[in-house]
């Protein structure tokens, strides 16, 4: 079926895939807010939310309903268009990452082979990087359009923090790219799945550590949640926001967490690879389904670690944060890159 030189079936197939991934991410994000409160409760030895439904399982829906029903307040002095654009941009940038993440191998339905990845572009990681750097705009625009000094300060903090940690993140990625020789996430995952090849974290433990710390900073999570430091900035860049616009900002943070967990799992922990199992012996559809499950388990583990850190480690001071970023992480990432390069050269020479 070709009309206007467009393959419509492919288009519809991709649209369905995008819709599934976006709604699944939002659904997981919904329950991540619940998990956050439960994990906090467990770590602080209290029951946590347990009123709405069995074990409090309907709590996220109650929260969402509350946010939607709240009165919408747009401050009088704020730039109205940008004020509304801010949360939307934050959410869009958070969701855009999912386009290049390989969720699993292929499934076969109705004689069609469908890749469970929206786009396998040969610059996959750079795309993720580009989208991450766009995420700053949601915070900056929202903070500026609020016309509130605290919001602006928080927005500038958030943006400078994100830019600082992007550098170390990029440098730690270069070491992984040297190993894989490809920028496509699919290829990187396939290489880790190949028999006789360990997950990348075995070759790049330091690189993973740097990437993980930078991911914490990029998601504005404790100990790097300076843009939302209540004791200094009241509430942070979303101070003037109410109703679902506030919800979007809070929600985009959780979506960011899911996406960065997925990226970390794909880059360092074999993506949808199931350890100690040769997927090629299974039926393709079954292998694909199990692959999705394996990736989800890895994501959940990462999200738990994110939360664990949040409720155990106190917040940095701002100068400590910048010191760590520029004077420790970047040199460390450079050293890691040099060592990786040297070892690869040495192995090639042998």
């Amino acid at each position: 079926m070709t009309l206007l030189a467009i393959d419509w079936i492919l288009l519809i197939e991709k649209l369905i895939l995008i819709a599934i991934i976006v709604f699944a991410s939002l659904g997981i994000a919904l329950y991540t807010t619940f998990a956050e409160r439960k994990v906090a409760a467990i770590l602080q030895d209290r029951p946590g939310p347990n009123r709405a439904g069995p074990f409090g399982l309907f709590q996220p829906f109650a929260d969402g309903l509350k946010l939607i029903m709240k009165e919408e307040i747009i401050p009088n002095t704020a730039n109205k268009f940008l004020f509304v654009l801010g949360p939307g941009l934050a959410m869009t940038a958070a969701l855009m990452t999912c386009a290049v993440i390989p969720w699993s191998s292929q499934v076969h339905i109705f004689d069609r082979t469908i890749d469970l990845q929206v786009a396998d572009i040969n610059i996959g990681i750079l795309y993720v990087f580009g989208v991450v750097s766009m995420g700053v705009y949601g915070i900056m625009i929202g903070g500026w359009a609020s016309n509130n000094k605290f919001s602006l300060m928080a927005a500038l903090r958030g943006a400078s923090q994100a830019i600082s940690y992007e550098l170390a993140m990029g440098l730690s990625l270069i070491a992984v790219l040297m190993l894989s020789g490809s920028l496509s996430l699919k290829t990187i995952v396939d290489q880790q799945m190949a028999p006789g090849h360990l997950w990348n974290v075995a070759y790049q433990p330091l690189g993973f550590l740097i990437f993980f710390i930078c991911a914490l900073a990029e998601c504005n999570r404790t100990p790097f949640d300076l843009p939302e430091a209540e004791n200094e900035l009241n509430f942070g860049y979303h101070q003037e926001y109410s109703s679902m616009k506030l919800g979007f900002y809070l929600f985009s943070e959780y979506v960011n967490m899911i996406m960065s967990s997925a990226i970390m799992a794909s880059l360092f922990f074999g993506g949808f690879d199931i350890p100690f199992l040769d997927e090629s012996t299974l039926a393709p559809n079954l292998a694909a389904g199990l692959g999705v499950l394996a990736l989800l388990v890895k994501i959940v583990i990462f999200i738990f670690v994110f939360m664990w850190i949040r409720w155990t480690v106190p917040r940095f001071r701002y100068d400590q944060l910048m010191n760590l970023g520029w004077k420790k992480m970047i040199p460390l990432a450079l050293v890691n890159m040099l060592i990786t390069g040297a070892v690869i050269l040495w192995l090639q020479g042998k």
């Binding site: 940008l82 990087f129 580009g130 750097s133 766009m134 705009y137 900056m140 500026w144 500038l156 943006a159």
Partner: protein, 167 residues
């Protein structure tokens, strides 16, 4: 019309409209945001020309880093149309006319150039822009200019640090 033509005209219209809005906007923050839209449209053109690496680097470097710093400065300076001196209408008109003349000259020069005769942009074909080929060409044929550029970058970095250290 093929998909590529539709996309080309859409992106071109977006680029030109956003570029005009950069100039027309009264608020400098809006200008910066429109400029980011221009970068997105240009990156779209790069993708159409199968130069994916260039497209994404354009976004990361310009839209992701340089424009964020621009936005920083403008937000902190808090410029707005009331406090800034506005140019007289005749000055603006003179600027438009001289700029238009310059544009006409450029277009006629490019159209008459011998090398450009009968050439067409290759849409969605050719693989020079892919990162593998680009890297190979950069590190074999153009390795000396590439290294000189990196020295230039280093000197710019050192210069920035020196200026920053002064106070």
């Amino acid at each position: 019309m093929s998909t590529i033509e539709i996309l080309f005209f859409f992106l071109s219209a977006l680029a030109v409209f956003s570029a005009i809005m950069v100039l027309v906007s009264k608020n400098p923050v809006h200008s910066v945001l429109w400029l980011i839209a221009v970068f997105f449209a240009i990156s779209g053109h790069y993708v159409l020309l199968n130069a994916q690496f260039l497209a994404i680097v354009n976004l990361i470097v310009y839209a992701g880093a340089i424009m964020v710093l621009f936005l920083f400065v403008i937000m902190l300076m808090n410029l707005n149309s009331e406090t800034e001196p506005q140019k007289h209408i005749w000055m603006k008109l003179a600027g438009v006319i001289s700029g238009g003349c310059f544009l006409m000259m450029l277009i006629s020069l490019v159209r008459q150039a011998v090398e450009m005769g009968g050439r067409k942009a290759m849409m969605a074909e050719g693989d020079t822009g892919l990162i593998k080929n680009l890297g190979k060409v950069l590190f074999s044929e153009y390795v000396v200019p590439f290294e000189i550029t990196s020295v230039l970058f280093l000197s710019a970095m050192v210069g920035a640090v020196v200026i920053g250290k002064k106070n």
